[in-house]
Each structure stands twice: as structure tokens, then as C-alpha cells.
Symmetry: C2
Subunit: 214 residues, 2 copies
DNA sequence: TAGATTGTTAATCGATTAACAATC
DNA sequence: TAGATTGTTAATCGATTAACAATC
């Protein structure tokens, strides 16, 4: 159980943003910041920032502001980034490769321990220092290596069957780039979806809306 | 100006989800559906669905339900998917390629008309039927071809300078996969960010939270 | 001490849910 | 007509903002 009982869903959604901005301040050598200054940078109201940050407790000092470093570390801790959850990547196509190469898993609480594909051209190649394994060997791999999370970078049609195999192996956390809605079959799993189509549609809406209201 | 004045931000965020689900129903040949059935499938309350759909007006029939096809078309229209905004892709690495190949731009209101990179190995190759052009030719290209949107699939460090060039060319809509926060420099632009890092952190939080609260 | 800024309560605002009359 | 389901109002709930006392 978290020691923070009362973090509401909206606050949780804002945490990564706080974490990113505080990280940048830290890189710049900024040691303290007021809710007012953060407000200017991040676009939340100062009042909301104080409200948000208060529930972690004790990082603000009246008349002074917040310690950037403590706050950064604390939010990282709340997010669980000091873990090292073991992740496997399913699908070594362009998207899978991009995810494997560009994401700083270690900084985000994960460690990439295996990459799988069923394309013989891809099996045996190296990505980020990992050899791409045959999808058929996944059962053996997972029995030998504790695995917390599966990252889905496979076509919509392949997703359901693979998810079922992984579920049987006890993997219940998923980062899902496929356009298939994973959460249908089981309700004891955690799925974080990356809906690129939704994002593109929202962009379309916003462009249309802006043009229209000129 | 949209003919729907009163669509609130939360409703807009839900529109792509409605659109996806209705699309699937349509594919299955379902012609009508009640708010109750939609509720079961989508996980919103029936009451909220009725509230949401009501503001588009006239697609429900009391005692009957909603016409899947009219609703699907109407939401698509509200989102602006019947446009064909001209988009260029900046960056033909793994991520750029994945985006170019896997996204159905036409179904989402866009048309991909150009791909640019500054890597000589990539320039001249073909992706999705488009030749990758030299980044240096982008000014010429945009003068000759009306361009509405730029898709950023470049490293964080390169983003700011490129954004400046494109802004000067009059491009003010961006789909941003880079980890750089585009919205800093100008406030007359539309930026839709795909924050993969945030998504991964939220997954980390949810796993940590679930493990902790057992 | 005086100035600044948080922590925290109260007020406002908005979104979701519940209920039911309208009506197909 | 009877049953079903929407449209719409009212009630509830929760999140954001405002205000100011506490305090560094």
C-alpha cells in the first residue's frame, strides 16, 4: 500500500509532467522553485500546484518555495521509478525497434530483458544489445526469467492470441501499442494503451476546430 | 465555427473512443445500439453516454436506441476526419518509418505528402510509396506544396531548430513524438504530443500501486 | 522584523450520475 | 397498447480556484 492514500486520479496523471519539468530544472542547476514560477512554466495554476504537491507532504517551505531535488526524487518514488520491473518486447518491427532503442527504460522503472518476433529475418539480429528470440521460445524464456511486463508492438490481428499465451505464463501487465483493446478478456490485468489513432484524431479535431472558429 | 458549440473538453477526449467502438460495431454489421449496450462495451455509464451523444442531436430514438452508422458518421464529421490535411513527416528513423507505414492517415483526416531526413543513407529510399527527401529541400518543398501539419519523429535536440524553420514556412500544426516540448516558443500553434515517457511512467505507477495494495 | 510563499480551508465551478417524463 | 429507451432536468460528486492564516 502506498503511503500516500489520497492521490486522486487527476493528480496521478499530472505526476509525469511534474517529474519531467523538475528534472529539467535539476539539470539546469535550479535548487528551489515557488509554486508561482512552476505555474508559469507548466501551465497549471499555482493554487493547483500547491494543492497537488501538498499531499506528498513536507517539500515546501513557507516563504521559500520547494526543494527541486527532494520533490523530483519524491515524485519519482511515488511513480515507482526506483523499481526495475522486467519487461519483454513482442514485435521487432519498426515500432518495436524504435521503442527498444529510444526509451530509457532504466530511468522509468523498467529493464528490457528480451525481444521476440516470429519473422526469421529478424530472429538472431541484435537490438539494444539484445538478441531477437523466436516467438516460439517465449514459454521457455519466461519460465527461466521472471517477467513483469510485456510490450506489444505487433499488428492488431496478432495481439489477442499472444496476450492469451502471456497471460497463461502469468504476465499481467502490458504496455500496448497495438490497436487491439487488450483489456477485454481479463480483468485482473493492467494495460497502459498508447492509442496513436486517438491522438491523431484529436489533432484533426483541434485543427478543424481552430480553422472553423477564425 | 463548429455547429456544436457546447462540446466540453472531456467529451472531446472521449470522441475517438466512441468512434473506434462504433466503427467495430459497423464492421460487425450492427445497425442499432442502446446506451446500455454501449455502456457494457465501453465502460462509460449509460447515463454519460446519453448525455454525451445528446449534444450532437437527433441520433437516438426513444424506445429504440442509436443508429450506429449515423452516429459513426457524425462523430467522424465532428472530429473533422472528412478533411484531407496535408502532412509531412520529419525523421525517417525507426519511429518515423513505423508511423508512416502503420497509420491510416486517410481515415484520420490526413494525407502524407512528404518525408524528410538529413541522413544521406535514408535520403532517396522509399517509404509508403514516398521518396525520402533531403531536409535541406524542405523550404522549396513547402513553397510548392501546401502543408498543414508536420509530424516530428526526430531526437529531442533537433526539434527546436526544425520547428523554427517550419514555423517560418507557416506550418503551425504539429504531431510531436519528440520529447521536446514544442509549445514553448509560439502560442499560435497546435501541438498534439505523444509522450511515450509519460505513458511508461504511468504504467510503472499502476504496477507499483497494484503490487503495494495487495 | 518584514516579505514571501506555503498549507489548508472555503467557495466555486463543472462533470458525472440518477431519475423520470417524453415518446418511439 | 405496452415496453423500451432516449432526452433532459435535478442531485451529487469531485476537482479546481480563491483566499488567507500560518510560518519560514
Amino acid at each position: 500500500m502506498h503511503k500516500y492514500q489520497n492521490i486522486s486520479a487527476p493528480v496521478i496523471k499530472r505526476l509525469p509532467r511534474y517529474y519531467r519539468f523538475l528534472g529539467e530544472l535539476l539539470d539546469k542547476g535550479v535548487t528551489r522553485i515557488s509554486s508561482r514560477e512552476l505555474s508559469d512554466k507548466m501551465g497549471f495554476t499555482a493554487s493547483q500546484i500547491r494543492q497537488d504537491l501538498n499531499c506528498f507532504g513536507g517539500f515546501g517551505q513557507q516563504g521559500y518555495g520547494y526543494s527541486v531535488e527532494s520533490l523530483y526524487n519524491e515524485i519519482g518514488h511515488i511513480l515507482g521509478l526506483d523499481h526495475s520491473y522486467k519487461a519483454i518486447l513482442i514485435g521487432a518491427g519498426n515500432l518495436g525497434k524504435a521503442v527498444a532503442v529510444h526509451m530509457s527504460f532504466e530511468k522509468r522503472g523498467f529493464q528490457l530483458i528480451g525481444i521476440f518476433d516470429n519473422d526469421t529475418k529478424k530472429i538472431g539480429t541484435e537490438i539494444r544489445g539484445l538478441t531477437v528470440f523466436d516467438m516460439n521460445d517465449i514459454e521457455t524464456f519466461c519460465e527461466r526469467n521472471h517477467t513483469d511486463v510485456a510490450i506489444f508492438c505487433v499488428p492488431k490481428t496478432a495481439t489477442s492470441a499472444i496476450a492469451e499465451r502471456l497471460y497463461k505464463l502469468g504476465i499481467k501487465n502490458y504496455w500496448n501499442f497495438s490497436h487491439y483493446d487488450l483489456s477485454i478478456e481479463h480483468d485482473d490485468i493492467i494495460v497502459e494503451n498508447v492509442h496513436l489513432n486517438d491522438s491523431l484524431m484529436i489533432l484533426c479535431y483541434r485543427i478543424t476546430d481552430a480553422v472553423g472558429s477564425q
